[in-house]
């Protein structure tokens, strides 16, 4: 039976359809608006947290040779390095912060616990830049003892007590799981060849082999091998780099931070070369044959040392030679003062 609607019925239906469409559009608009605002506020929160960390890192670095701890950091940071660019991001946020002004050695994940920051000045042998080592209460460092004069034991002794660390001696049965989220095992060729990691949960540990090849004065040089991929070999010079390798626990990540440190060293070396020019200009203004020429003139000891460093940093670095030059320049600093000239550094 065919039903014919009268005009009033059609009008009421039309009103409802109109209200539904208009209401739907308004609802859609508000939902989109709220979702966008929520995403924007999450990004903003991530950015603010990163700004805060950036400030913290910058402030910490201004106090060299210090250890500072920060009570429970509520966010977790992930450190990355891609194509020589070091960066970190707050977990849960997509914003990445590129590390420009700091040289940071840190395990891949830190945060969501008490943060510990340690700074040391990288010396070449003049102060180049503060280096920042980060860790937290979730990361444990196991040093496999390599004897009285072993390099690993030396690194262990240099690690601050505020870092979670333990020296695993010969008589220690194995590496225990003590409830930490992550373990870094540091060993050398002089450490015992076997250490039992079966008690540690899978994917909760990393291994790094640090061997010292030699020393010039108090400047060690050697190589770092990835504990998993032994083909990854990265050379180092000085304690600051070796300690960086121990903190990072990953040869690839270490190479990235080390390269950035060497770049800064090269730039700083250029400044030192120009400074020697300026110093010699200053001395020549007093006396063209000033006695400090032996150190600061164009062929002086300082310039030849710095030019040697430059030639290494510009090309492929010979770490043994670099350690030797660093050690010689350390002696030059005392020598410059003995003959009444300006401190070299």
């Amino acid at each position: 039976m065919k039903m014919v609607k009268n005009k009033g019925q059609v009008e009421i239906s039309f009103n409802w359809i109109f209200v539904l469409i208009a209401g739907g559009l308004i609802l859609f608009f508000f939902i989109t608006f709220i979702v966008n605002q929520r995403e924007a506020s999450m990004e903003e929160l991530g950015r603010r947290v990163q700004d805060r960390f950036d400030s913290i890192f910058t402030i910490i670095q201004q106090t060299p040779d210090s250890v500072q701890s920060f009570d429970h950091i509520a966010t977790e940071l992930e450190f990355m390095c891609e194509e020589g660019v070091q960066s970190y991001m707050v977990r849960g946020s997509s914003a990445v912060t590129f590390i420009d002004s700091q040289i940071i050695f840190s395990p891949r994940y830190i945060g969501d616990s008490r943060l510990v920051a340690w700074t040391r000045n990288f010396r070449g042998p003049y102060p180049v830049t503060p280096v920042l080592y980060l860790s937290d209460d979730r990361n444990m460092f196991y040093f496999i003892d390599d004897g009285e004069n072993g390099f690993v034991r030396d690194l262990f002794n240099r690690f601050p007590d505020a870092f979670q660390k333990e020296l695993i001696r010969e008589d220690n049965p194995g590496l225990e799981d003590k409830g930490y989220d992550f373990y870094t095992i540091i060993f050398s060729d002089d450490s015992r060849s076997e250490f039992d990691v079966t008690l540690l949960p899978d994917d909760s540990y990393t291994r790094i082999r640090i061997n010292v090849t030699g020393r010039h004065g108090d400047v060690p040089y050697g190589e770092v091998r990835d504990g998993v991929d032994e083909d990854v070999v990265v050379e180092f010079v000085g304690y600051e780099m070796a300690l960086g390798a121990a903190v990072i626990g990953d040869a690839n990540l270490f190479e990235c931070s080390k390269d950035r440190l060497l770049q800064r060293y090269a730039a700083s070396n250029e400044v030192q070369i120009k400074r020697v020019h300026e110093l010699w200009g200053g001395y020549q203004a007093i006396n063209p044959d000033h006695r400090c020429g032996i150190i600061y003139n164009e062929t002086g000891l300082a310039m030849s040392g710095l030019e040697n460093i430059k030639s290494h940093l510009d090309g492929s670095v010979n770490y043994e030679d670099l350690a030797s030059i660093m050690s010689e320049l350390q002696d030059l600093n005392d020598q410059s003062r003995r003959i009444g000239c300006a401190w070299f550094y």
Partner: protein, 163 residues
């Protein structure tokens, strides 16, 4: 003039459309108000960030190992070596050091203002962007050391950060 009488249904339709139009107008007004408020907030925040940026750049530069006074391997706080300052400018003007220091300091002019001595002002770093939309300047008192003549001077560091 002929008077037009509307039917009841037409009046109802008109009412509905008016209500929707008013609601839409209210929403648009609300959004305009919200975005203008948040826009002015962003502008204020941008100015604050710029000021903080200039202060942190001043602190960063004054504490760079490359220009700090050093003695027996130890560097001194708030003291700038005159020769290092000049050397830094020469080194950071070109080549690889310019790239490195630009990534660290950014677009800025850093001058050692030797207002309180007979020495000339020293430009430590200079890198201006091609298009300058604004700048903020921060000042910081420092000691300037001349290790050749064994003298020290009061000065202030003038850091102009560009945006």
């Amino acid at each position: 003039m002929r008077m037009v009488l509307l039917r009841k249904s037409q009046v109802q339709m008109g009412e509905t459309i008016s209500v929707v139009i008013i609601i839409v107008i209210l929403i648009v007004l609300g959004l305009v108000f919200y975005f203008s408020l948040s826009g002015s907030g962003v502008e204020r925040e941008r100015e604050e960030v710029q000021e903080l940026d200039s202060i942190s750049t001043a602190i960063f530069v004054s504490r760079m190992e490359e220009i700090k006074c050093s003695r027996a391997g130890a560097t001194t706080y708030a003291c700038i070596d005159m020769y290092k300052a000049k050397a830094f400018h020469n080194a950071s003007s070109s080549g690889m050091p310019r790239e490195i220091y630009t990534s660290l300091i950014g677009y800025a002019n850093v001058t050692l203002n030797m207002h309180y001595s007979t020495q000339k002002n020293i430009t430590i770093y200079s890198h201006e962007p091609s298009n300058i939309s604004g700048s903020v300047t921060a000042y910081m008192p420092v000691m300037v050391s001349d290790p050749v003549n064994n003298t020290q001077h009061f000065a202030y560091l003038e850091v102009e950060v560009f945006s």
